[in-house]
């Protein structure tokens, strides 16, 4: 089995690059993997597990991709890291791994900011969400109306990433259930992988000293945008009478650093908070090893599972998370939850609890480590992925027939006048797939058959014959 793997690679500053490193060692036991990248540089240690090939969108070597059994595309919300990958996926069908469940940030960033093609963005919004979607998008594009997070909530645009997919892998059960309802492509859920340290026996978390004297070290890390709730944490800390019992270290790039610095200054936290910026991985790991409590808040969430959370657990570090999306599904003994509507109140309560019962939090970190071992082992992930690859291979010929169906219905619609081509395509887009069952009868596009539009169109004898002919494949 040969796999083409399209993902950001280290040192790209995204956890998806680290994810690739984590899964690669396990995956190579099942398949020969070629890493495809448009980055100028990558971590040379990757070459131990896989061949790394550079690509340029304008000069793709399709034959080389076709010689593989499946191409696997990693899609997340950063257009910088995933824009080219999505573009390749549009031309060469493959399996899509969704690292975010809502992709509006990605597509808006790609169309509006990178390509400066607002018209195309609006057209996609209209295609998927009709006139209302277009209208809201137009307002947003002119910096009016909804905020980007609200746009993502209302118009996730996830199906746009799956248009050409032969299969879809997601990292949260919520995403799995939602997408299963709207796409008939082979789909699987696999918990995000993260290897526990190799030099440790199973079930044995890294030893953490019982928290001794104050101050305790709090840590926030990763790409710090608004939804990481750093402002709420700072306010909670500032208002906490016991605040001198803590120190806060922030690692990673901050989307609006000036504003954060001003807030730290304004709240009088200068002596308690330190912004380290982006640091090497080893330094971050050392900081996680020395920290006592991680703060890993997200609100709103784009529906993603968090590689950062797994990294926290790999250090058996207790953590606070927002009670939303994937984080809300985590076992109560592995994290402490913060309700979005009571952020400051809950953060303060947990910090006080930490001061009074530090050993309870120590156990929380150990439980998180055990969960990591049980559910997030890269080997388990690699097996799930390979099972999905096998199903996606079977789907490849259906995918080609799907395009044929689009074309044929558009053609028939053009001359019958009974069903408008665009309206037909919107139905197709919403349903997003033909359904091919095991028996010939089941193959007759049941979702289309049930739609009023289809019933109208089926008055055409030609279309009736077309559907029968397609069912023969």
């Amino acid at each position: 089995m040969k796999l083409n793997w399209f993902s950001p690679l280290p040192p790209a500053s995204t956890d998806i690059a680290h994810y690739t490193t984590r899964v690669l060692a396990a995956l190579r036991r099942h398949a020969e993997v070629t890493l495809w990248t448009d980055q100028d540089k990558w971590d040379s240690r990757l070459n131990e597990h896989a061949e790394v090939r550079r690509y340029k969108l304008r000069r793709m070597r399709w034959a080389e991709l076709n010689r593989g059994d499946m191409s696997i595309y990693h899609i997340g919300n950063n257009p910088l890291f995933h824009g080219s990958i999505w573009q390749v996926s549009q031309r060469h069908p493959g399996l899509v791994v969704l690292h975010d469940q809502r992709l509006h940030h990605f597509f808006a960033g790609l169309y509006r900011d990178r390509w400066r093609d607002t018209a195309a963005y609006l057209a996609q919004m209209e295609f998927y969400y009709g006139e209302a979607g277009r209208s809201d998008a137009a307002l947003w594009a002119s910096n009016q109306g909804l905020k980007i997070d609200e746009m993502a909530e209302r118009y996730p645009l996830t199906l746009l990433a799956l248009e050409n997919a032969l299969g879809v892998l997601v990292h949260t059960e919520e995403a799995f259930h939602q997408l299963t309802g709207v796409s008939q492509r082979p789909m699987a859920y696999a918990p995000l992988p993260f290897a526990a340290a190799l030099d440790r026996k199973p079930g044995q978390p890294p030893a953490r000293d019982k928290p001794g004297g104050q101050p305790y070290r709090l840590i926030v890390f990763g790409y710090i945008s608004n939804n990481r709730r750093l402002d709420a944490l700072l306010k909670a800390l500032a208002d906490l009478p016991e605040r001198d019992g803590f120190r806060l270290d922030v690692y990673g790039q901050i989307s609006d650093e000036r504003e954060v610095r001003a807030l730290v200054h304004g709240l009088g936290l200068k002596n308690l908070v330190r912004l380290h910026g982006f640091v090497p991985e080893t330094e971050l790991d050392a900081a996680l090893g020395a920290a006592h409590l991680a703060i890993n808040l997200r609100y709103p969430t784009m529906g993603e599972a968090s590689g950062s959370q797994l990294r926290i657990w790999s250090h058996a570090l207790p953590s606070l998370v927002t009670e939303v999306g994937w984080y809300a599904t985590l076992p109560a003994n592995t994290v402490a939850r913060v309700r979005p509507a009571h952020e400051i109140e809950d953060i303060q309560a947990h910090l006080r609890a930490f001061l009074s019962e530090p050993t309870r939090f120590l156990r929380m970190g150990e439980e998180g480590y055990r969960l990591l071992e049980e559910q997030h082992a890269p080997e388990i992930y690699a097996r799930s992925l390979m099972n999905l690859v096998a199903r996606a291979e079977q789907y490849r010929n259906y995918s080609a027939s799907e395009r044929l169906a689009h074309k044929a219905i558009r053609e028939v619609s053009a001359w019958t006048g009974g069903a408008k081509a665009r309206e037909t395509l919107q139905v197709l887009a919403r349903k997003n797939s033909l359904i091919y069952g095991k028996t010939k009868e089941e193959r007759h596009l049941p979702w289309l058959r049930d739609s009023a539009l289809f019933k109208r169109a089926m008055r055409s004898a030609t279309l009736q014959r077309f559907v029968r002919a397609l069912g023969d494949y």
Binding site: W62, L65, N66, R67, R91, R403, T462
Partner: protein, 349 residues
């Protein structure tokens, strides 16, 4: 019986497949049947067009014509052999080869398209699903039958047929000093392999190529190659020749050389046998290997320049041996009962 023959044709291009369909039509008519050919125009690029043609074939209704029942449909070529009919017999010339044995070959185009694998799988799936609709399946040759079995798990019976005007081939009393290579100028036929081998022969072997180029500029490309290899004075480019001229060229040749890559069947082999000529072919040439017995009716060479050059030298140096091998080839042809009445009997049985 009222019989339709379904085949595909690339407009303005004519080759063995067209002669095959016409030969079958004439043979059926000679046996007293009403027979017509349905020519499906075929365009294979961009690859999505292939699926369009497949669907178009599936939508055709040839069960009746002007109120009269069509008793039998004989499918020959992809995608025409997908046309449905309740009484269908397939006699498959070949499948869509770049979706199968030529997928990852230097001459393949499909693999270079971004959605090539998707189209390949759709073609394969359609073949697997639809070919078994037929009441019986014959293949043009053992080679085609083997591919059907290997790729689709479908059993087919090889059924040989004679080349057009089979009875008119003859052998002249005296052979002249040239090897004859009659075929369209086509990368799959590998005229270039012969040119490069020619540059390595010890004797001044001469080769006469007859046939029109299958793609624009290919004739010029081959001629330039001959000049580059400095064999152009030992090569004759005859272009497209008449049937009569072709038979004359066979008749006077010292031997015939034919080196296609994995040919389905190949009239050239049979025409050489009918002309009592020894034939040089390659071990990867496919169809010809079903007829050429190495050192009995010709020479089977490895597809390397050195081996092919040695084979040409050998035939060139031993004209009496070449004559004897040619006569054995003719005798073998007669024993195989490669006749249209035999074909019609099998297809209608």
């Amino acid at each position: 019986m009222r019989i339709l023959i379904a085949t595909a044709q690339v407009p303005f291009i004519r080759g063995g497949a067209e002669a095959h369909a016409e030969g079958l039509r004439d043979a059926l008519r000679a046996e007293g049947h009403e027979a017509e050919i349905i020519w499906i125009p075929f365009k294979w690029y961009p690859p999505d067009k292939i699926l369009d043609h497949m669907l178009a074939c599936r939508l055709l209704d040839v069960t009746e014509a002007a109120g009269l029942r069509v008793d039998l449909l004989i499918g020959l070529k992809f995608p025409a052999y997908l046309i449905p009919h309740p009484n269908k017999v397939l006699w498959i010339l070949h499948q869509y080869r770049t979706a199968y044995e030529l997928w990852d070959h230097a001459l393949s185009d499909l693999i270079h398209w971004p959605n090539g694998a998707e189209i390949r799988d759709a073609i394969r799936q359609a073949d697997r699903q639809i070919l078994p609709e037929a009441k019986s399946i014959f293949a043009n040759s053992g080679n085609v039958a083997r591919r059907l079995k290997d790729f689709c798990g479908i059993e087919a019976v090889p059924l040989y047929h004679p080349p057009p005007h089979a009875s008119t081939f003859y052998c002249a009393a005296e052979a002249r000093e040239y090897l004859f290579f009659p075929s369209r100028l086509n990368r799959l036929k590998r005229q270039s392999l012969v040119l490069e081998a020619l540059a390595r022969t010890r004797a001044a072997v001469r080769v006469s190529f007859a046939g029109a180029p299958a793609e624009p500029d290919y004739a010029e490309e081959l001629q330039a190659l001959a000049r580059k290899l400095k064999v152009h004075e030992r090569v004759e480019w005859l272009g497209e020749v008449t049937e009569e001229e072709k038979r004359r060229l066979y008749a006077h040749a010292l031997g015939v050389i034919y080196t296609p890559l994995d040919e389905d069947y190949g009239y050239v082999t049979l025409e050489a046998m009918l002309s009592s000529k020894a034939l040089i072919t390659c071990a990867d040439s496919g169809g010809p290997l079903e007829f050429v017995r190495d050192e009995e009716t010709g020479l089977v060479s490895e597809p390397t320049l050195e081996a092919l050059a040695a084979a040409m030298d050998k035939l060139w140096a031993h004209p009496r041996q070449a004559k004897a091998w040619g006569e054995r080839g003719k005798a073998l042809y007669e024993r195989l009962d490669i006749t249209w009445p035999h074909v019609v009997r099998r297809l209608l049985s």
